[in-house]
């Protein structure tokens, strides 16, 4: 009989019970003829069963109230009160983190790559502080973006347009005011339907009106920064550089016309 040779993929699919009946029979025949491989596959099968058994109790635990889907849907419909403490604590944490790396470039806010580097570092620090925050990634949510726009305008000193990245698949989540060495900045957060998050940070730049867009990489995430109409922007996220560049170009076009 001339059957297709047995592949490693077949063996794995055999362990996972994902072969059709004819192929399954061929694999069994093969294993009967090759006891050394059969022994390895037996180990894999045992390993699979053990993993499932070991982790099964987690799935059987009673669901805590915070993960009650009906309750979550219900609570979403009520107006949210803003817990001040969460924001204050995060801001303090950010100042500590920012202080460690940021002071070196203090006073170097010149129309040069230092400005761009600094913007990128601020955006990356905010990304690492807030994007992984599962409870409160943003302080004011997208559905209240008027409040957010008023707040950031007041603290930053001028209105800051919120770019719409929906065309790239990223939806606006909301934002907050964050501290930098050069004063308050606006931070906007977005995510796509795969849960990937990115942030845009914006603050006034005194030393330059315009700076071209430059790529910047900070702590394993990609970023782009630029200055337009005296406002510095930096976009940062775990997105491939080319894709992020398109998103950054889109954002720049939008804020350019809004400013």
């Amino acid at each position: 009989m001339s059957s297709r040779p047995i592949t490693e993929d077949d063996l794995n699919a055999f362990v996972d019970g994902r072969l059709d009946v004819p192929r399954r029979k061929e694999v069994i025949a093969y294993l009967e003829a090759h006891p050394d491989v059969a022994q390895r596959i037996a180990l894999y099968t045992e390993q699979r069963d053990m993993l499932r058994t070991a982790l099964q109790p987690i799935a059987e635990e009673p669901i805590p109230p915070e993960l009650d889907v009906s309750r979550m849907i219900w609570e979403r419909r009520r107006p949210r009160t803003m817990p001040r403490w969460a924001g204050v604590a995060a801001a303090v944490a950010l100042m500590i983190i920012g202080g460690a790396g940021g002071w070196i470039l203090r006073g170097l806010d010149q129309p040069s790559s230092a400005t761009v580097q600094s913007l990128a570092r601020e955006a990356a620090a905010s990304y690492f502080a807030y994007a992984p925050d599962l409870v409160r990634p943003v302080e004011i949510r997208a559905d209240d973006s008027k409040t957010l726009a008023a707040w950031t305008a007041k603290r930053v000193g001028r209105p800051i347009a919120i770019p719409d990245l929906a065309a790239s698949g990223y939806h606006f989540m909301g934002g907050r005011v964050v501290p930098t060495d050069y004063g308050p900045a606006a931070l906007f957060m977005y995510d796509n339907d795969r849960g990937t998050r990115l942030v845009i940070l914006a603050r006034p730049i005194e030393a330059a009106q315009e700076l071209p867009m430059s790529p910047v990489r900070q702590g394993g995430v990609n970023g782009f920064a630029w200055v337009g109409n005296g406002l510095g922007y930096s976009i940062v996220g775990p997105v491939q550089a080319e894709a992020l560049r398109d998103i950054a170009d889109d954002a720049r076009r939008q804020v350019g016309t809004h400013a």
């Binding site: 794995n12 982790l55 987690i58 889907v69 690492f128 992984p132 939806h171 849960g195």
Partner: protein, 176 residues
């Protein structure tokens, strides 16, 4: 329509907690992750592609949130090192004589590279099809298969090293 959302999301919660716990190890971190994932899903429910299987979609969101968070932990390492991993926060209620083997298995699991651990968990524990796992991790099926193969091989090696009474695991790892 709300009822429909509840009906589709609720049954997924136990499995999402299990995957999150296996990745994060810490119970409250894992549940925070699941909560965030559910909130995303509820907010985006009507934006998802028509008739898309919510299971693969939910695992995709959860996985990406977990990676965002773990990347942060690499940036600023957590207090717990891998050697001190608290197996009690993973759950294990096996008979007494098997407990040790289960514990060894879970600790060997933490020694797999993350890309192998995630594939192994999604395929073997969460029963995702290879195609769904590929969708969740955003990689080709061929890559799923090769990572799965390497994960099994490596886990077997780690476990057989543990069977020897005083196997020097740290030493072993430094040789590889």
């Amino acid at each position: 329509m709300t009822a429909d959302m509840v009906r589709q999301l609720e049954p997924l919660v136990p499995a999402l907690r299990r995957y999150a716990r296996a990745l994060m190890r810490d119970r409250s971190d894992a549940d925070d992750l699941v909560q965030d994932c559910l909130e995303r899903a509820i907010g985006r429910w009507y934006q998802r592609r028509n008739e898309e299987d919510p299971r693969a979609w939910m695992f995709t969101i959860l996985h990406n949130l977990a990676m965002t968070r773990l990347r942060r932990q690499v940036q600023r390492p957590a207090h717990v090192s891998i050697e001190d991993v608290d197996e009690a926060s993973l759950s294990c209620t096996a008979p007494q004589e098997d407990r040790l083997r289960y514990r060894d298995l879970l600790s060997a699991l933490t020694e797999l590279p993350e890309e192998q651990r995630t594939v192994l968990l999604l395929v073997t524990v969460e029963d995702l099809s290879y195609a769904d796992a590929a969708q969740v991790l955003d990689i080709p099926i061929g890559t799923i298969m090769s990572r799965l193969s390497r994960a099994r091989e490596r886990l077997t090696r780690l476990m057989s090293a543990d069977l020897r009474p005083d196997a020097p695991r740290l030493h072993l790892r430094s040789i590889k």
